[in-house]
């Protein structure tokens, strides 16, 4: 998918045990399934329903989204830096497709 999520870590290098803040924004309509188009038909629901973040393959944070999450979902959370490795963020669409973004953290 062409969608590229924007990811920002408040620090790229951390000491062991430091708290790292992740801010991320992804472009998506998050169609709620409640709206009607001009012809009066309900616009079918299409949202990202799941978000996970793994650091070095270990899940540190996850969220289940409902249609009440705004379009272009923004999410901010924190994790404790334990070891260097990739920070992988994954969003799962209603249609099963995935949006994946990756950053890395260096723990010294």
């Amino acid at each position: 998918m062409a969608v590229k999520p924007r990811i920002k870590l408040d620090k790229k290098e951390a000491k062991k045990g430091d708290i790292v803040e992740v801010k991320t924004l992804v472009s998506h309509v998050m169609e709620s399934g409640q709206r009607r188009d001009n012809a009066g038909n309900i616009v079918p629901r299409k949202i990202l329903n799941k978000f996970t973040c793994t650091v070095n393959g270990k899940q540190v944070f996850a969220a289940d989204f409902e249609p009440a999450i705004s379009a272009n979902p923004y999410i901010q959370f924190k994790f404790r830096a334990e070891e260097s490795g990739p920070v992988v963020l994954t969003w799962t669409d209603d249609d099963g497709s995935k949006i994946v973004g990756e950053e890395s953290i260096k723990v010294g």
């Binding site: 708290i19 790292v20 709620s32 409640q34 709206r35 009607r36 650091v55 270990k58 899940q59 540190v60 944070f61 996850a62 969220a63 289940d64 989204f65 409902e66 249609p67 009440a68 999450i69 705004s70 379009a71 979902p73 923004y74 999410i75 901010q76 959370f77 924190k78 994790f79 404790r80 334990e82």
Partner: protein, 157 residues
Amino acid sequence: MTPKFNRRQIVAKGALALGAAAMGAAALGLSTGPALAKNDSDEVIQKFTGGKKPAEGRVKLDLPEIAENGNTVPMTVTVDSPMTAQSHVTDVLIVADGNPRSGVTTFHFSPESGVAEANTRIRLASSQNVMAVAKMNDGSFFMASKQVKVTIGGCGG
């Protein structure tokens, strides 16, 4: 003779239109007041807690008092917890009692989260209460709620 409104007629019509607009606004004002018709938020919380009654406290829910645009309302939830393997928050359920569907989101934390804090932007259809219920790893539940006044609803039609 072409039908033309005289000044009197125009004034009269104007007054009528104004009256109608005022009534419309009054009706709208009523409908945007605190949500009376509740959705299934209580049942959703019951299901999440397995019937237990969550205690007040430890959870902090940050939302604006007045949201100008219900389409995107910033929300921060923080749970007071050491976040160690022995004692941590596992899940936080967010529900809104005035939306067409009560569920907003569920955050899943782990000891690796370090801090049980998350921020996102939510949709609110009208002025209503937003509730956060946190589940601890020992099986206890804590909750917080906050009333938000919404000027423009966010489930737009």
